[in-house]
């Protein structure tokens, strides 16, 4: 810990070669480090999981500690789509449009039983899991999950963000995966 910063922790620098006045490492690791600690989430909150998210953003749990203090309410500027709550079938196209408007690289966190599987709403009007219309990176179980669980999901997203290859989004596998959802 640096002197004078109090309890503020600075992200670990990646492995590299260091000398007087220079530090050499791979670009991928630096980009991963920067992205990991500056995720802009877009909260797509439709019900009680959204309330837990508000607690997560509040002073007590404080998601800002993980570099996500800046919520983005425009999908075009967001990195992470956090889907929290029951998604009715009528909401499905809206959610899909929000996802399509996000710029690459983008990640999706499905918070709670409803977003992940439909939850208790096994009924004609509710989408039985958002992964039927958009790809999901991390699922957070719970009905609703506690803020600690949401933070755990964010940390898992951070691990994905940090380790992701810069070329992954250009790969044929990634495009094929999106095509299975009908997304260009």
């Amino acid at each position: 810990m640096e002197k004078g910063l109090g309890n503020v922790r600075i992200g670990e620098k990646p492995a590299g070669i260091e000398g007087a006045g220079f530090f050499a490492t791979s670009l991928e690791k630096v980009v991963g480090l920067a992205r990991k600690n500056s995720i802009w989430p877009l909260p797509f909150a439709t019900s009680c999981c959204g309330i837990e998210f508000m607690a997560t953003m509040g002073a007590h749990y404080d998601l800002a500690r993980f570099g996500s203090e800046r919520l983005s309410f425009s999908p075009r500027q967001a990195d992470l789509l956090m889907v929290m709550g029951t998604i009715a079938k009528k909401m499905g196209p809206v959610l899909r449009q929000v996802y399509e408007q996000m710029a690459e690289p983008r990640w999706v966190l499905s918070v709670g039983a409803c977003a992940s599987s439909g939850g208790i709403f096994d009924t004609y009007s509710v989408l039985q899991g958002i992964d039927r219309i958009i790809p999901v990176d991390v699922y957070v179980p719970g009905c609703p999950p506690r803020p600690e669980q949401i933070i755990d999901g964010i940390i898992k997203i951070q691990a994905l963000v940090e380790s992701e290859s810069l070329r992954r989004r250009d790969s044929d596998e990634y495009k094929a995966m999106l095509n299975t959802y009908g997304i260009e």
Binding site: K89, S117, G118, D122, Y124, S125, V126, Q128
Partner: protein, 166 residues
């Protein structure tokens, strides 16, 4: 509701539409008049205009499916806000062709309620200005509150017999 009040309502309906009344009485603590479907809009209009009745507020309009009768009922709940009197009118339609004239000529608020009743029960309100689905997705091909359709989403995979059963 007091019997005198009930008789008064029935006498007002009976002035012109006595032959339309099939049944009248307290049903679940609520005065309910079951009517033939033909003159329902005229009767509601008469109850709206009559100086002693003034049922000028439509609390709700909804459908009920009776699969054993092969009928769909439409229930109208009216409210007199001057005397705080409530009245339920009920008509029965055959499931095969559930059509009834629209009430939007009397109550503008019937517009969305009739759309909802169409959405969930398939009741056709003739003369409705915009009879299309209101709550469910437009692609839906069933009327989900009819009891022949299962409540559950049939594509759900995690509820097979090895897990919890249905």
């Amino acid at each position: 509701m007091e019997v005198a009040q009930q008789d008064k309502i029935l006498s007002v309906i009976g002035e012109k539409y006595g032959d339309q009344v099939l049944h009248a009485g307290m049903l679940f603590d609520f005065f309910t008049v079951t009517l033939k479907k033909d003159k329902i809009v005229d009767i509601i209009r008469a109850l709206y205009d009559h100086p002693d009745m003034k049922f000028q507020y439509l609390t709700s309009l909804c459908g009920i499916h009776y699969p054993e009768l092969e009928q769909i009922a439409v229930a109208y709940q009216l409210h007199n806000l001057y005397t705080n009197t409530r009245l339920r009118l009920k008509i029965y339609l055959p499931v095969a062709s559930p059509t009834v004239p629209t009430l939007t000529s009397v109550f503008a608020s019937a517009n969305w309620m009739e759309r909802e009743t169409y959405d969930f029960y398939g009741v056709i309100f003739e003369g409705h200005p915009n009879l299309k689905r209101i709550l469910n997705v437009d692609e839906m091909i069933i009327f989900p509150m009819r009891k022949e359709y299962p409540l559950e989403d049939q594509i759900r995979q995690d509820k097979n017999d090895t897990m919890f059963g249905r």
